[in-house]
């Protein structure tokens, strides 16, 4: 992924270390127009350093793709110990999320010699795999008209 500053929404940092996305400028990859407006919170727990940035990805599940379709890619500053991003005007439905703490801010996941990540990462519901990667269904959160929260704890 390139250093895509265009994905960076306008943010303001509150005293509680919460980041609010004021305007949803970033939904460039909407799979389809939302059927109804909903608010989604992405909450990243156990942020241990304020170096670099958090790169979040919101996926919409069920629109003909079991893997999910990228709905938003968001880059926000890292804030210890928790970051909360609120997205407005999304359609109701099933969603999943992933996060990468890009500590060196080089736009790529740092890995060891066999490709395992060496920067913190997380997925919604803190889903964990059995024989392989966590299933999208374990990462999924249903979002209705009242909105929803997708939580992920960083793996260090």
């Amino acid at each position: 992924m390139a250093k895509d500053a265009q994905w960076l929404p306008r943010v303001c940092r509150t005293a509680a270390g919460t980041i609010m996305v004021a305007t949803l400028l970033l939904i460039a990859l909407l799979a389809q127009a939302p059927a109804a407006a909903a608010e989604i919170q992405l909450v990243v727990e156990d942020v241990r350093s304020e170096q670099g940035v958090l790169r979040l990805e919101l996926l919409r599940i069920g629109d003909g793709s079991e893997d999910g379709v990228t709905t938003a890619q968001i880059m926000v500053p890292a804030v210890v110990p928790r970051v909360r991003v609120t997205l407005h005007d999304l359609g109701t439905g099933r969603y999943a999320a992933r996060v990468h703490h890009d500590v060196d801010d080089d736009g790529a996941m740092a890995t060891n010699l066999v490709g395992m990540p060496t920067e913190p990462w997380g997925v919604s519901n803190d889903a964990r795999g059995r024989f392989g990667p966590p299933r999208m269904t374990d990462m999924a959160v249903d979002v209705g008209d009242e909105g929803g929260v997708l939580r992920m704890t960083l793996v260090h």
Binding site: M1, R55, E57, R98, H100, A108, M109, A110, T111, N112, L113, V114, G115, M116, P117, T118, W121, V123, A127, R128, G129, R130, F131, G132, P133, P134, V155
Partner: protein, 501 residues
């Protein structure tokens, strides 16, 4: 590469120990109950009871004359705590690492032991119960894994390295401990690009201090090779593709080469298995491959074949000028000791392990001729082969092993004898332990004045005391010259290292 691909690769690698069927929480753990009942009938099972979650410190009572020249620390490790929250592990290899230090000098012997405070144990202590799957155990309501280190119990061996002591597992990172207090400092990362890579529990250290190790990634079929300089800096770490690598536990080094045996035991990814152990399949019709790696560029130069066999531990290897490598090992016909006996032991089921136990074998690998041959060199059961540190990767004349004669029937299911083989003269000297004692890995060591000794830890199950005995390496049959006795019994450990001084 996209972030998604990175994450998926990570999680695939993380699935070393699959999380499987969720067992219902029992009212009382049947294995715990069964083991306690078996212990009443067979008190030698004390060695597998497991320790409590507490520190151990004592001054040992010494009888006999401790050699004045023999001063230093014997560090040991092994599965220590098997039960937590009333639930007992289903495999011997899952217990939390218990690191011990026997420190001796000035006529005094002190002992200290600490459980390694791994990330896993800290999470489980906080929860008051087991949370994570082990190699062969799946606790009720287990949580999933983000990586192999999530289930790292740091419970196989130790390695003194500079100002720290490493507690070693084989599928994840070493843990650093304070060598004096044995307090856990945390997992070790040798470099950014090697973070989280497996570091086996049997690194080989040459007499000049150069250290070699390997690690296997059974799911990804990759072999990691490690090379450290004598001052403990990481010189090289490389990854090689090795199809069907399985789970090699130990290896040997010569002046020019590293050599691994790859027994045909692999995880079956299609198995509906609760644990990694349950997913393993033995392919006895296949060969055990001999993998030879050139030290200079860490490339695999030769792959040869031997009959299917299971080897946990090697003694030592050396190579002559014609390119012939000789080494010795404790060779078993198959891995039943691991896949069956060490599981059944946890519920106290006594097993006749004489057909699955290892025996002393020697090997000859001709790199020019492309041949690999093997032969037994002693008609007995044998395990824990070791040589003097000064003879690693050189021709060795002395090999120490625990053993048991085939017609011997001690009052326990373990090995009962320590043997010192003089390989040049093909002679065996040995000391047979009393029936009430279970010997553990015995280390041949050299004292500051050049004298050669054998450090022999054991468990006296009748008195409920752990012991350290000292023998003259060159006269083991005469029995111990000194015995240090603790006021408590600790679980039988696995491997150790001696640090003189």
């Amino acid at each position: 590469m996209q972030r998604r691909q990175f994450l998926e690769l990570a999680l695939t690698a993380a699935a070393l120990a699959p999380l499987g069927r969720v067992a219902a929480m029992p009212l009382g753990d049947t294995w715990e109950t069964a083991f306690r009942a078996a212990l009443e009938e067979a008190p030698w099972l004390l060695g597998y009871l497991g320790c409590e979650d507490r520190p151990f410190d004592a001054s040992a009572k010494v009888t006999g004359t401790w050699p004045a020249a023999l001063a230093g620390s014997l560090y040991r490790n092994g599965p220590g705590m098997h039960s937590l929250g009333g639930w007992r592990y289903r495999h011997l290899f899952d217990g939390d690492g218990l690191v011990q230090c026997w420190r001796f000098g000035n006529g005094e012997v002190r002992h200290r032991a600490r459980l390694v405070a791994t990330d896993k144990l800290e999470r489980e202590r906080a929860a008051g119960r087991r949370l994570l799957p082990g190699f062969g155990s799946l606790p009720p309501d287990a949580v999933g894994l983000a990586g192999a280190d999530d289930l790292n119990p740091a419970n196989i061996s130790v390695l003194p390295q500079g100002d720290r002591l490493l507690a070693l597992w084989e599928a994840g990172s070493p843990y650093a401990l304070d060598p004096e207090t044995l307090a856990t400092r945390g997992p070790v990362t040798f470099s950014a690009e090697t973070r989280g890579l497996p570091f086996s529990a049997h690194p080989r250290q040459e007499p000049d201090g150069t250290l070699w190790n390997f690690g296997y990634l059974a799911g990804l079929n990759k072999l990691v090779l490690w090379h450290f300089t004598p001052d403990a800096r990481l010189a090289r770490a490389v990854v090689r593709d090795v199809p069907r690598i399985g789970m090699p536990h130990d290896f040997v080094v010569t002046r020019q080469h590293l050599l691994l045996l790859l027994p045909p035991l692999y995880p079956d990814p299609g198995a509906d298995a609760a644990t990694l152990l349950d997913s393993l399949r033995w392919h006895g019709e296949e060969a055990t491959r001999v993998l030879v790696v050139r030290k200079s560029d860490l490339e695999i130069v030769t792959t040869l074949e031997l009959p299917a066999q299971w080897v946990f531990h090697f003694g030592n290897a050396w190579e002559d000028e014609a390119g012939v490598i000789r080494f010795d090992a404790a060779r078993a016909p198959d891995p039943r000791l691991m896949t069956e006996t060490f599981r059944e032991l946890m519920r106290g089921t006594e097993a006749d392990f004489t057909t699955s136990a290892a025996r002393p074998y020697r090997y000859r690998v001709d790199l020019q001729g492309g041949t690999a041959e093997e032969e037994p060199f002693a008609d007995m059961l044998g395990e824990f082969p070791l040589v003097l540190p000064a003879e690693v990767a050189r021709r060795h004349d002395t090999l120490v092993m625990l053993g048991r004669d085939l017609d011997d029937r001690p009052r326990h299911d373990g090995l009962d004898r320590v043997c010192v083989f003089d390989l040049a003269c093909e002679r065996r000297a040995s000391f047979r332990y009393p029936d009430t004692e279970l010997p553990e890995e015995h280390l041949p060591v050299t004292a500051a004045d050049g004298s050669r000794w054998l450090l022999g830890p054991s468990l006296d199950w009748a008195s409920g005391q752990s012991l350290l005995r000292v023998f003259r390496l060159d006269d083991v049959a005469a029995g111990p010259v000194a015995t240090a006795r603790l006021p408590y019994a600790l679980p039988l450990g696995l491997h150790g290292r001696f640090l003189a001084g």
